[in-house]
């Protein structure tokens, strides 16, 4: 066998080392930030911390959670993520079901399909969308963050392909028993599609949690900023004018540890759902992406 040859063994050793190093590169920066966030001021600001906290302290977290803007934004983000995911999933299911029908049994299917697909190909762009949100009076409301993205055509396509893979006989049986389309969707299709629905709702949740741009342009009051937008402002742009910084905050905590703590809190929900996410998504993606 090939793997017993000397050359292959040598390759194998290097391969393990190489892949191991690459894998670590994906996690070490996050561990570094975590270590900085738990370190005390002096070692953190003189760049002594690598992957383990020096002078362990939770001051940075205490200060972060003591900031009312931060708590506010955290709540906006949670609210947004929950509402948007529920609405998004309901609309996705309602849309994917009719579109998964054959052209013969549902006339107009291809017209609807092109109507939706065209929105992926072409869009009005940033400025007209911004003007629209203004005119609709959605500025500074959570709906400006939820409604424009409530219909994800990509998710609809994935869900539609999943529906098409389900056995037709079940549907026919449901119709024979007198169920209408809506009942069939709710009682036959949805229960059978839980793996796909779970994958897509987790993706939607991650997307909503991570969204920052819409919050920045549609919210003029920093109170309405979702967490990702707030973090963008204070960590990336380092613009502290928008938040009320307590001067005592800067006394015994370094800005660097506070920033690190905020970055970590921003990433935490993703890190927490990730193990569940990972179990599902490989299958979920392959369903829709690779058709051979």
């Amino acid at each position: 066998m090939y793997y017993k040859t000397k050359g292959y063994r040598l390759f194998s050793i290097f391969n393990y080392i190489f892949l191991g190093v690459l894998s670590l590169l994906c996690i070490l920066p996050i561990i570094h930030i975590l270590a900085v966030s738990f370190s005390s001021m002096a070692p953190a600001s003189s760049n002594l911390v690598s992957f383990w906290p020096i002078g362990f302290t939770t001051d940075a977290y205490v200060k972060t959670f003591g900031n009312s803007n931060f708590i506010n934004s955290l709540l906006v983000s949670v609210k947004r993520t929950v509402i948007a995911t529920i609405i998004g999933m309901v609309i996705m299911l309602l849309t994917a079901f009719p579109l998964s029908k054959e052209d013969i049994s549902f006339k107009g299917r291809s017209i609807y399909t092109w109507f939706f697909v065209f929105t992926i190909l072409f869009s009005g762009g940033l400025i007209p969308s911004y003007i629209l949100i203004q005119k609709l009076g959605l500025m500074d409301t959570i709906w400006a963050l939820i409604l424009p993205g409530a219909l994800s055509v990509w998710n609809v396509i994935l869900m539609m392909n999943f529906f098409r893979g389900l056995p037709k006989e079940l549907e026919e049986a449901a119709y024979l028993d007198g169920a209408g389309h809506i009942k069939t969707l709710a009682l036959v299709y949805v229960p059978l599609s839980m793996p796909a629905i779970a994958t897509l709702s987790l993706f939607t949740m991650v997307g909503q949690w991570n969204s920052w741009f819409d919050g920045m342009i549609y919210m003029s009051d920093v109170k309405n900023y979702p967490l990702a937008s707030l973090l963008q402002t204070i960590i990336v742009q380092q613009d502290l004018s928008k938040i009320n910084v307590d001067p005592s905050m800067l006394e015994n905590v370094s800005q660097r540890t506070v920033r690190a703590a905020q970055i970590f809190i921003g990433a935490l929900p993703i890190l927490l759902v990730y193990p569940f996410l990972q179990r599902f998504f490989v299958k979920g993606i392959v369903i829709g992406a690779v058709k051979e």
Binding site: S23, F97, I127
Partner: protein
């Protein structure tokens, strides 16, 4: 036949959302042909015909911005294809299931973090004043590099950090194709005396070709997308000359400087070119690899 009115009914919310949030903004494109003033609105603002587009090609920075976009997107696409391809092939050689699983878990992770989080992390570790990466460079006897403050380094950072974020996730489709290869092919090659390298060359690579061609053709449609999220979270005025892309340019001009008509014209130009490219790339993917999305 069942009654189909309920099918139409189910589509009502999606149709309404698409009309309001997708099709109505398409109508808003008219401001590209106006000298739009928000207080005058669509009807009262002055019509200027193609002036904004003429201005577009005369505006001093636009050529550079388009060039930046193309260069950054091109290298991201190439690197973003090669890295997951090779990683998947190498990972396929790993027989320790636990190692494989841990490695996959780690490399997929950055894909799920936003550029705000990763941008924050990169700002910290790439800092010329004692960021981790520069500490390492200095320890190895080099000079500290101002990654995010020098145009050329900025582009390199964009490309490498994009590969870092996405290469793991990109391996999924390649690994899926690899798992579809019939093991009998390898056994036959073994009997014929092919070593592992030859087997990889003559069985694994050809097996990955269809999906690689699909990804390559589909990427044509993305050549004007150099990644707003990433650039916006990493750039600063020092690197506008080499790092400003169409999307960031539109944002700065349109939202920050209030040149709404001009920014919309730039956006429309991008949108039209992108649509044409996407249609071409989907046709090509269908022709070359029989790939269909819907």
């Amino acid at each position: 036949m069942q009654r189909n009115w309920s099918l139409h009914l189910m589509l009502v919310p999606a149709v309404l959302l698409a009309i309001i949030f997708q099709y109505i903004p398409m109508g808003g494109i008219v401001i590209a042909f106006q000298d739009f003033k928000p207080y005058l609105g669509f009807t009262e603002s002055k019509w200027v015909g193609w002036d904004n587009f003429k201005y577009l090609f005369l505006y001093p920075d636009v050529g550079q911005v388009i060039w930046n976009t193309l260069v950054i997107a091109f290298f991201k696409i190439i690197a973003g294809l090669i890295a997951p391809f090779l990683f998947a092939v190498l990972l396929n050689e790993v027989r320790l299931v636990a190692f494989k699983r841990v490695s996959q878990t780690l490399v997929y992770l950055p894909h799920f973090l936003s550029w705000v989080i990763l941008g924050g992390i990169l700002l910290d570790i790439l800092s010329p004043q004692g960021g981790m990466v520069n500490q390492l460079i200095v320890a190895l006897g080099g000079q500290p590099i101002f990654f995010l403050g020098d145009g050329t380094w900025f582009r390199i950072t964009l490309i490498l950090s994009d590969v870092w974020k996405e290469f793991g996730f990109g391996t999924i489709v390649f690994l899926a194709s690899l798992s579809g290869i019939n093991p009998a092919l390898y056994e036959a090659a073994e009997v014929d005396g092919a070593n592992r390298f030859k087997q990889t060359l003559h069985i694994t690579f050809p097996a990955l070709m269809p999906i690689t061609i699909v990804l390559m053709t589909l990427s044509i449609g993305n050549i004007l997308n150099a990644g707003f999220d990433q650039v916006f979270n990493l750039y600063n005025p020092l690197v506008y000359d080499k790092g400003d892309i169409i999307d960031t340019f539109v944002y700065r001009l349109g939202i920050l400087n209030g040149k709404m008509s001009f920014a919309t014209a730039v956006g429309l130009f991008k949108s039209v070119v992108a649509t044409i490219l996407i249609v071409i790339s989907y046709r090509l993917a269908y022709k070359l690899a029989n790939y269909r999305v819907f």
